[in-house]
């Protein structure tokens, strides 16, 4: 394929994927399940951890930001895809002239935008009420964008489960998400985990939390380069597994 044709095809795919992102924003952002698992759940989880501890906002808020992105970005796809399967609207997208990868990218972008917007809530509250400061604001913006995309891809990967019930996907997703909270340096810093700290390396949330810590405080366990590489690697893995599983279910349909 020649280069102008390829670039026109890429533009075409991206514009159709963006249509899916906009559609998701209109339909799923205000769904009770998305708000419950995307915003309320991480907030209450964190409050139950923070209450009674004498920790500064500077120490608390980066963890809250990481949890909020983690839960909110991964919830939209997990809610949207099975719902669309039930309503048969997912079939509408498959019969449309758009590649399976672009359909998933559109859904992932929908989750990523939601995750980024939800993250702004604890940040703004922290800055206005608690005088919370950010060392690298641009770095934080870039981190939130990268992390949201990665966790949204994780939600899409789980949505490949052959079910029409969003609750089934959420249940399995939470079965994975909740344990990751405790092995990602959020509640227990990696430095304090001793030789068990090695298990934090298998959690994408570790790199996300570390990257946010760096953006906010200027220091972190791994440094921004390793964090970015870690998140990018997990994002590619989620994307590859997600596309493969979604395609497999189409082949057996």
């Amino acid at each position: 394929m020649t280069s102008p044709r390829r670039s026109s095809r890429v533009r075409r795919e991206l514009s159709r994927a963006w249509a899916i992102t906009k559609k998701d924003a209109r339909i799923y952002y205000l769904r009770p399940g998305t708000i419950m698992f995307g915003l309320m759940f991480p907030l209450f989880l964190f409050i139950s951890f923070a209450v009674g501890r004498d920790l500064s906002p500077q120490a608390l808020i980066p963890g809250l930001v990481a949890i909020t992105i983690f839960f909110s970005a991964s919830s939209v796809g997990a809610m949207a895809v099975p719902t669309e399967r039930r309503m048969k609207t997912h079939e509408r997208m498959i019969t449309a002239p758009i590649s399976p990868l672009s359909i998933l990218l559109g859904e992932i972008a929908g989750g990523a935008v939601y995750g980024a917007v939800m993250t702004a809530i604890p940040l703004i509250i922290g800055m206005i009420w608690y005088g919370f400061t950010i060392d690298h604001p641009i770095g934080l913006l870039a981190s939130v964008a990268l992390i949201s995309f990665g966790f949204s891809a994780m939600g899409i990967m789980f949505s490949a489960m052959p079910t029409e019930n969003p609750g089934d996907v959420m249940m399995i997703l939470n079965f994975v998400r909740l344990p990751l909270l405790f092995v990602s340096g959020i509640f227990i810093p990696i430095e304090e985990m001793g030789r068990y700290g090695i298990i934090t390396l298998i959690s994408p949330l570790t790199y996300a939390n570390d990257m946010i810590q760096y953006s906010v405080r200027g220091s972190s366990a791994f440094g921004p380069e390793i964090d970015a590489l870690g998140i990018a690697a997990f994002t590619l893995l989620f994307l590859w597994v997600g596309v493969t599983l979604h395609e497999r279910s189409r082949k057996t349909a």
């Binding site: 339909i27 609207t89 509408r92 498959i94 449309a96 082949k251």
Partner: protein
């Protein structure tokens, strides 16, 4: 030129063969009906033809593009109306059409004019800003059809389009389909309503147990079973349901009550008509109406399905 070419199309689910090496073509501008009993493989076939399911073997070409190898090019040329209206209930009719237009890469200005034109054609203009969750089944069907037509496709796939519609909506939909076909759109219709296929289709394909049992014009299929002509008669007062003596009339092979009428199957309609006048005179009845009928598409369909069930070949 053929709009659709299906070659050796096959689908296995494990060991079960749902669609068994079927071949057929649909010409450009043709209204093609795809018939079959429940579970015969109609929906599996249409799902493979529209890219929803991958064939185990065989090819489907849409306007020359292989749906497996060039899916984007193939999909740009058709619209799909599935059995269940797949619209976004939380969006308005207008937003549903706009989303469909965006998926087909139609420019903003063209989307707007096309959406307005379609909503107007389907008498939905005054509801365009209402969420479709409040729409009736017929209105949802119209929105689904409008979404399938937003990009003015060359081919329209319809899976049981009148299923669940009231009579008025069903008649209106059929008028729309005829009009579309008249303007050159190729239509591929699956239905279990044989009268619908008879009234609309240029040709029909009949699939039984995953195999294509017949492909031909409805009238030609009917001609293959000339033996089943019939006389339809209505009496006053009505003759009760167990009037076995109707079967004793000369040349009547069987008598079947259909509402307020009797359908008498025969090889010789004129002899049956003559003997019916003797029948009514001897019983003090009057004939309200009498018609001689050729075999219906339903008769042809049943003959083909039964023939296949006995292991017959394709026609």
């Amino acid at each position: 030129m053929n709009s659709i070419e299906v070659e050796d199309l096959t689908k296995y689910y494990g060991d079960f063969c749902a669609v068994d090496h079927i071949d057929f073509d649909v010409e450009s501008g043709e209204f093609f009906g795809f018939l079959g009993p429940n579970g015969a493989g109609k929906t599996t076939t249409i799902r493979m033809m529209t890219g929803l399911s991958t064939p185990s073997k065989g090819t489907v070409r849409i306007m020359g593009f292989d749906i497996s190898k060039d899916p984007i090019e193939a999909k740009e040329r058709f619209g799909v109306v599935p059995e269940a209206s797949n619209i976004y209930e939380d969006l308005t009719a207008w937003d549903n059409l706009n989303f469909a237009g965006e998926l087909y890469g139609i420019s903003r200005s063209e989307r707007r004019s096309r959406a307005a034109e379609l909503l107007d054609a389907f008498d939905l203009s005054e509801f365009k800003d209402k969420k479709v969750k409040g729409f009736s089944k017929g209105m949802r069907r119209k929105v689904t059809l409008s979404m399938a037509m937003i990009h003015s496709p060359d081919i329209l796939f319809l899976d049981e389009p009148t299923s669940g519609l009231d009579l008025h909506s069903s008649i209106k939909l059929k008028e729309i389909l005829r009009d579309l076909n008249g303007r050159g759109t190729t239509i591929f219709l699956t239905t279990h309503i044989l009268e619908e296929a008879n009234a609309l289709c240029d040709r029909v394909g009949i699939i039984v147990r995953g195999r294509l049992a017949a492909v031909d014009a409805p009238e030609k299929l009917k001609r293959t079973i000339q033996a089943s002509q019939s006389v339809e008669v209505s009496f006053d007062p009505a003759v009760p349901g167990l009037a076995f003596d109707l079967e004793d009339l000369p040349a009547v092979t069987s008598a079947e009550k259909k509402g307020d009428k009797w359908k008498l199957l025969t090889h010789d309609p004129s002899l049956v008509a003559a003997s019916l006048f003797e029948y009514v005179n001897s019983r003090g009845l009057k004939i309200v109406s009498i018609n001689t009928l050729g075999p219906s598409l339903e008769d042809a369909f049943l003959a083909i399905v039964n023939d296949q069930a006995r292991g017959g070949g394709s026609r």
